[in-house]
Structures are given as structure tokens and as C-alpha cells.
Symmetry: none
Subunit: 127 residues, 4 copies
Amino acid sequence: MISINLEDARPLEEQVIAALRLAIVRGEVQTGGALPSARQLAGDLGIHWNTVARAYRRLNREGLIAVRHGRKAVVTGRPNGSTDAARASLRDDLVEALTLGRSQGLSRRDLTEVFKDALAHLQERKS
Amino acid sequence: MISINLEDARPLEEQVIAALRLAIVRGEVQTGGALPSARQLAGDLGIHWNTVARAYRRLNREGLIAVRHGRKAVVTGRPNGSTDAARASLRDDLVEALTLGRSQGLSRRDLTEVFKDALAHLQERKS
Amino acid sequence: MISINLEDARPLEEQVIAALRLAIVRGEVQTGGALPSARQLAGDLGIHWNTVARAYRRLNREGLIAVRHGRKAVVTGRPNGSTDAARASLRDDLVEALTLGRSQGLSRRDLTEVFKDALAHLQERKS
Amino acid sequence: MISINLEDARPLEEQVIAALRLAIVRGEVQTGGALPSARQLAGDLGIHWNTVARAYRRLNREGLIAVRHGRKAVVTGRPNGSTDAARASLRDDLVEALTLGRSQGLSRRDLTEVFKDALAHLQERKS
DNA sequence: GTGGTCTAGACCACG
DNA sequence: GTGGTCTAGACCACA
């Protein structure tokens, strides 16, 4: 379902969160569908189940999934924050990423190309 | 020259690096121009000079600036990595940021709007 | 009669207990009147009947209702603890809730307003 | 500074959070003042320092304190949410608490008395 | 020295 | 069986 890279510098928890978010956004897990249990997913990824549970809790706080005692986590697709805050936050993230790209020799034209590439990546869905 | 937000959750070092990169990319410091000394910049920002020194070292490794003993750090404007690596890295960062935005209720159209906004923000200052 | 929110983070059992207590306190079920059977109420709410049964058992222990084998649960209206203990417990709950409100930017005046609002909500229905 | 009750049914983390919130609201820790380190407070309370660290992180997310790598946690006194949401949330908490009190035999008059008592408790400050 | 992450395993509450 | 809490201790990043 998702994959993890132990060599990656980012915390495992972050990686799990990002990967699940991507899977949900790409529709690989339907709204209303259930995620594997924390223990099972952890086993598949070869990491400790507490790490996955923590990731689930954070996605739960974000409003992306609904986590309840004794039940499997379910995708809600109902974010809770304002979109204005989301836009501001996204803008900051993009400025940061684009600045980095620019500082590494990419032209403004390059940035736009890579953006389109990234955007397309969000849509691919194995049908 | 740059500013720092102590409330921000990101490490001070990261903030300093990001702010310097942005200033350089926007042309606020000319290629060949000198950066303030680590101790002075740290004093202006109210943080420990070690934190600034570490930031300089990282920008030096990136090839954005040239740091030499006893001299002031100078903007080189000649990154050292391949642009292919830069593109791949940027793509990952964008996918991550866009996924987050999408998961918080933004439409694909929103993403493109915010992207243009961010891109404009990189525009060199007319000074 | 009562309603449950599956999105709510609180355990279903807690929600059922709180909702029943409120209905009783507001006089929507008369003293001496009968509650629906655990299985029926569970069916109406779309949850497992064990969860409702556990809720009934707890209200029974509290002395608010009387549960007997083969009979429907009946509202007694005769709590069994001392009012002193109730006062102490309530005080703790209020301190906790008010502290939270205060920490989120509400003034002392706000607290009193919201208190009056909450108190009014307990008012028995004229029906 | 604060105290914990191991007999209490609530999670230690919750207790620590509630106690710190109260201390802050009562002004026992000045805005801008530093909290003891997670390890030290944990030692004083006789619990694991991870539990305290988690409590700090949650208060940080609430905006009550500022937690930063390598620095002591500092009281900010700048909550981040809207007061409308805080009012709604408080109202629900109060309805719940008052319903419980009422169900245990307290009169409406009792409720108001206990409320005043609780409110007074938020103010006491050793000057 | 401070907080953050991860693993590990025990025990509990919920359904 | 599911997720939640707590303890424990190793290791890391930040200041």
C-alpha cells in the first residue's frame, strides 16, 4: 500500500503521514474506506506499531481520517481547518521549496515545469 | 536584512538558512557581495552566533556562498550539484506540499493559483 | 429520543450516558417512566447493544435508573451518593472546564455568560 | 509546582496538562517565564519524562506555551484559536458537568454556588 | 542539557 | 482485535 525509506533523514512518522496523505489524495483509499490496522501496517513496513499509531492520531487531528477505539481507522475526506489558512501555509511551503530549487541553479521556467510534473503526480490513480 | 521568528516551530538554523537563500535568490545580496559576519548577524537577530555559523557552513556546502577563514562570506551564485538532482529533489518537495494542500480542502485550481503567487514572491526586487 | 455523533472523539458509551442523563435531568423521561430496551435503543442509534447495556449499568450504579432482569429500565430520580461528594466532584469538573476556557482567551465575564447559557439549556421542557 | 494523583483514573498526561494550564491561568508562572525541563518536572512528580514531554507538546499546539529544541518551554499566553470555538466548546463541557451534578441531586441553586466557588479558585494567587 | 524520535513491551478501554 | 497510555532506555538534533 505505501512504502517507507529507512535511509531517509525524515522521521519515520513523517514519512508514514506523507505517504498515507498521498494515497488518500490520489484516491487509492476511497472515502469511507478503512485503513489497515496500525499493527498490521507497521508489520508490513517493518517498523514499530506505535509509530504508525502516532501517525494515525495526527491524521485524525487533521480531520483526514476518523480514528476510534476498537474500530479501524476510516478515511473521512473532511478537513476541518479553513482553506485560507491552508493557502497561506501552502504558499510558505512553496516559497521555501522554490527558493531552494532556484538557489540550486534551476530557472524560473524549470520551476514551472517541475510544478506541472508534481501536480500530475497527484492525479495518477491505478483506476 | 533578514528576520527570524522565535515562535516558529522550525529550528532557528533552518530559518536562517531559508531566509538567506531567499535574500540571495531575490537578488537582495549581489553575486560577489559579502554577507555580514556570523557574530554580527547573530547579534542583530538575537540568537547564538554558533547557529548562524552553522547556517553559513551549510550554504557553503551547497555552493551558494564561499566561506573562508578570516574573510567575510561571499555570494558565489554557482551551485555545485547537477540540475537533475535539483529537479528530482524539488519535485519531491512539491508533491509533499501539494498533497498537504489538497488534503486540506484546496482544489487543483487553488494549487495553481498559490503556485503563481509563490513564484511571484521570488521575483527579484527592483530595489 | 437521544442522538449520538460517530465523529465525536469520545467513546460511544460516554456519549450515550451523557445523553441519557441530560434527557432525564431535563424531564424528557418522567420519574417512574421506562427507558427503551438496550437492544432497541442501540438499533435506533446504529451501535452495538452491548455499548448501550454498559451505559445502562453505569447509570444504574449511579442510582439514576433501576435496571432489573427481564424488566425495562426505569427512571428513579433518587441518586444514591451524598450531595457533598457531588459538589466536590462538580467543582473539580468546573475548575477544569473553566481553566480550559480561560486558557483559550475567554475573559472571566465570558465564563459567566457561557455558564448562564449552559444552565438555561438544562431547563426542563415545558412540553 | 504542580501535583499528580496516581490513583486518579485520568491519564497522567491529561493530569499534567490540566495542572499546568491551571498554574498558568492563575498566574503562578508569569507570561514569558520558563517551565521546568520535562526531565526535571517528571522527576519531581515521579513519572516518566516522556509523559511530561508529551504534555508540553500538546500545550505547545494549543498555543499556551512555546516549546523549542534545546530551550526551556516558555509561557506565551497567546492562544491561537477563535474565542467563538472556545465558547462553544466550554458550553458543551459545562452542560455535561452541570447535568452530572443535577443528576446527583444538586439543585439549580447549588450549581450556581459551586460555579462561583470554582471561578474563585481560578483567581487565587499567592501574590 | 533541552526537547524529539524510535523501539519495545506491558496493560487498559472500547466494541 | 483495535487503538490509547505508560514506562524505559537508546540515540539524535538543537542551542
